[in-house]
Symmetry: C2
Subunit: 197 residues, 2 copies
DNA sequence: TATCGTTTTGGGCAGTCGTCCAAGTCAATT
DNA sequence: AATTGACTTGGACGACTGCCCAAAACGATA
């Protein structure tokens, strides 16, 4: 029963999601309109509300799918690094590929921002970020990290996001120069400090 | 010549700025309209374009003034801390007062985001953040920091912003548990790593 | 060929937006 | 009392918004 119709619908839905994700980065979360998405996807304006309940619904779905894919690939590749110090090195190198004004960075920051006002988005993004943090902590433990792996992981993930923010302001910011302090933190093998008092 | 009129105008301008800063945090940069600001300030809708050239002009002026005051007070109080380790401790304690969803945090994040699309705002915010970074670095050097103070300062400021972002997603995130890794980084007195390779 | 379900179309609705502007208020100066 | 000049008012303008819906299009089934 109407098999090809369903197929057409699926690809249209995907085109809408891709267009929405791109436009969030280009125009900002609040700058995306249903008509913009429809035009970018090459469909009529009304089609958005056929496939999605509302504009926020579309934006939330599109952004979380992209973010989840991004962070999962990121942590997966980090997990391949042999030890904590080269991992930090790799992290900074990888991070240098993002200018802070590229679509990927902008999409992530837009999500953080919109999440403050959209509880559903906040929950989904929190789940994604918490997952990344847990994977980084597990990787540190696997590599024989002696200190509080959870704390180091939390700081590392925060540093990544913070640097992304700052890179948007200052494209000249040199990430590789920050390797020293971060290595010192990721090592933490000769110190007494664990989790807390 | 019309002295009292000028006074009236100045206070109206200040009310507009205060209303705009509050509304950016509440409704988001893109969610603020001229009518909202005017109503909050208790003036007629048209008055916004008498005191400011445009809505972005008002928002940029209002947000940068608040952000500059905030960060200057923050770095000034950090500079009072006796040494790097207690400074980090104080930093985390101070940071714990921000929920990630409070007006101050939201305003800052909104600015970072809007800065990606507003060159003038980006330049002003960059100047403010760079100033904070320089003060933190100077404070580290004053306290006898042996390593690359600039790099440590950059990481510290990035951590603060990143944690603010994450705090919005997860109010349960415990900053004080992160003191260990950050102290290890801020110390850096027994290591060989400086700035370069 | 006729019917069915799904998908697509394009216009309509009621509302908000930024910006502008002629008319008005009000205190200080002439 | 008349004039000046800064400031304020409230409505108007065209453009844009999210969402909705009757009608058309289209492939698969009967």
């Amino acid at each position: 029963m109407a098999e090809a119709s369903a197929d057409r619908g699926r690809t249209t839905r995907q085109r809408l999601l891709a267009a929405a994700a791109a436009l969030i980065a280009e125009a900002g979360w609040g700058g995306v309109s249903t008509r913009m998405v429809a035009e970018r996807a090459g469909v009529a304006p009304g089609v958005v509300h056929y496939h999605f309940a509302s504009l926020p619904d579309l934006l939330i779905t599109a952004s979380t799918e992209v973010a989840r894919a991004m962070l999962e690939e990121f942590t997966a590749r980090l997990a391949e690094q042999p030890d904590a110090e080269t991992g930090v090195e790799w992290l900074l190198g990888e991070l240098s590929r993002y200018t802070g004004n590229d679509p990927a960075s902008l999409l992530l920051v837009e999500m953080y921002l919109a999440a403050a006002r959209l509880p559903e988005l906040r929950d989904r993004l929190h789940e994604i970020v918490a997952g990344s943090r847990a994977k980084v902590a597990a990787w540190l433990r696997d590599r024989g990290h002696a200190g509080d792996a959870d704390a180091v992981a939390a700081v590392l993930v925060a540093v990544v996001d913070g640097l992304m923010l700052h890179r948007g302001l200052d494209p000249a910011l040199d990430f590789t120069a920050l390797a020293g302090p971060l290595r010192a933190m990721a090592r933490t093998d000769g110190h007494k400090e664990g989790s807390g008092p």
